[in-house]
Amino acid sequence: MSEVFNRPELKESYGNYINGAFVAPVDGHYFDVTTPIDGSVITKVPRSNAKDVEAALDAAHAAYATWKDSSVTERSNMLLKIADIVEANHHALAAVETLDNGKSIRETVFADIALVIDHFRYFAGVIRAEEGSVSELDATTVSVNIKEPIGVVAQIIPWNFPLLMAAWKIAPALAAGNCVIVKPAEQTPVSICAFMELVGHLIPAGVLNVIHGFGPEAGKPLAQSPRVHKVAFTGETTTGRLIMQYASENLNPVTMELGGKSPNIFFPSVMDADDEYLNKAVEGAVMFALNQGEVCTCPSRILVHEDIYDAFMAKVVERTNAIKMGSPFDMSTMMGAQASEDQFNKIMNYIDIGKEEGAEVLCGGGAAELGGDLNSGYYIQPTILKGHNKMRVFQEEIFGPVTCVTTFKTTEEALEIANDTLYGLGAGVWTRDAHEAYQVPRAIEAGRVWVNCYHAYPAHAPFGGYKQSGFGRETHLMMLNHYRQNKNLLISYDKNALGFF
């Protein structure tokens, strides 16, 4: 009998979080938030507009006047306390995340919230050890480099790991001494409200603000504001371009993560033994089902060497068919609901496109009927399609529990297929051969190559994409530099004039 979590009770509505408190939107409009578990309405959040964004900017700028001079110790200790409070409320926050996003409680407990806690602790640690630099350029000239925060930053967060994606952006921004305005995804605004209720009192008023609303109404005035000094975004390519455009109006720097079509490559040595490693490799292939496939790095293409295809894929299909679906509040459920009705329809569309293009359905291939209340939710069977890399299902991000498998004969062919994509976010390489384990990843055009593993996002391993997957690297101290400016002091100890004038 596995543990079943209780469905959390939410407030009837939540406000924006501005200047240290929850406040109603200026014009008083709210929108309904639904759960994809059964399609029901769970709460309401503000439908903010430019007026609410201005209020947040006022608060952030006022706070920045003193926050920019805060010590690293003060900021580090704040982040540590935030982590402690999230940890003390681990299961409660996980349940809220499951309700809002639809993913299984197994994932929110062991992945989402666990990683949130660690992320704040990581950045709390790194900033205490940082230093600037000093160089004597000549006997009387000294160059001093000091890192200063960039100012007030705008962060637009996706819905696939709502609180974790917020933590990935908030932690480095606050660690570096900035004030932040976050616009959560309209599909999943709830967990950050629960988070702010728990930790808001730890953060000086105005340092961290949350504005809920729709992209065109709240996201646009935020990204476009001349009072913002940097914009960070995770989402899709067209919106990424649009945000870059808005930021360019103010010559603001941006970082963005825009998706992928990550190849998971299995070399013949994987099948050399029927051992724990082979078992791990089979699980590695089935990782396309993690988070219902709603991950930018979903291993949505499986590339298998033709010599091992039959034996390996037989195990992968068997493992996929064993995926347990059910109530996302049941700890034994492996795959939950897709995040919304439109996502559900889009994924189903792609399954049809795959079939129309001639792909063979190895397992799954349609909606999952879970019965009872769950019938009004958005559930899809984990699906494997067999085809070739020029099919649309091999090239476009489906963002669902669908993976496409093809074979290769040589390493060169594997690399050609792996790199034949517009994206370059993640990739997986599975081999027992020491040479392949280094040389293949070096030849793949992706920012994260998992070798003999997949879907691990520990802090201190930089994460980000090549090509149309965006730019900037998160989950590592290098992200701090995207939230800072370098102040160079060039000091002369020479008392004599140069002789020009």
Partner: protein
């Protein structure tokens, strides 16, 4: 409304359903003329994005696929390489999208339905042009 696909010489790469037109009419009342850009990538990607005309800058890396009820429809050229054998129909679905597409607040989301073009249709369709064409 004229029936679609009756004449290869007047065939479009992108068409639209009555439901999509109704949503466009609703958006036009508030925002004026519209445009579309097909997005790739995660989250709300693999979906058409609707903007006020000229809100989104298109350029030499985008192809113009045609107009849907007067609204120009663009896609990135690199993405089009994989779409060139498909016909697109703009339709809608209920749902809560989360990008900057104009219809997000309405609780409906634009969606593309597609089918493979026949060999004759591919031959008959002109090569789409790059860059701003409206």
């Amino acid at each position: 409304m004229a029936p679609f696909f009756t004449n290869l010489h007047t065939m479009n790469r992108v068409d639209f359903t009555p439901e999509a037109k109704a949503l466009m009419d609703e958006l036009r009342d508030f925002h004026g003329p519209l445009m579309f850009h097909q997005s790739g990538g995660c989250c709300d990607g693999s979906s058409p994005m609707c903007f006020p005309l000229d809100e989104f800058k298109v350029g030499a890396s985008d192809v113009y696929l045609g107009a849907v009820d007067g609204a120009p429809f663009y896609m990135s050229a690199s993405q089009f390489e994989y779409w060139k054998h498909t016909h697109l129909t703009l339709h809608i679905t209920p749902g809560r999208g989360s990008s900057f597409s104009l219809e997000i607040p309405t609780g409906k989301r634009f969606l593309i339905q597609s089918r493979l073009l026949s060999h004759e249709e591919i031959e008959a369709l002109p090569e789409p042009r790059l860059g701003k064409q409206h």
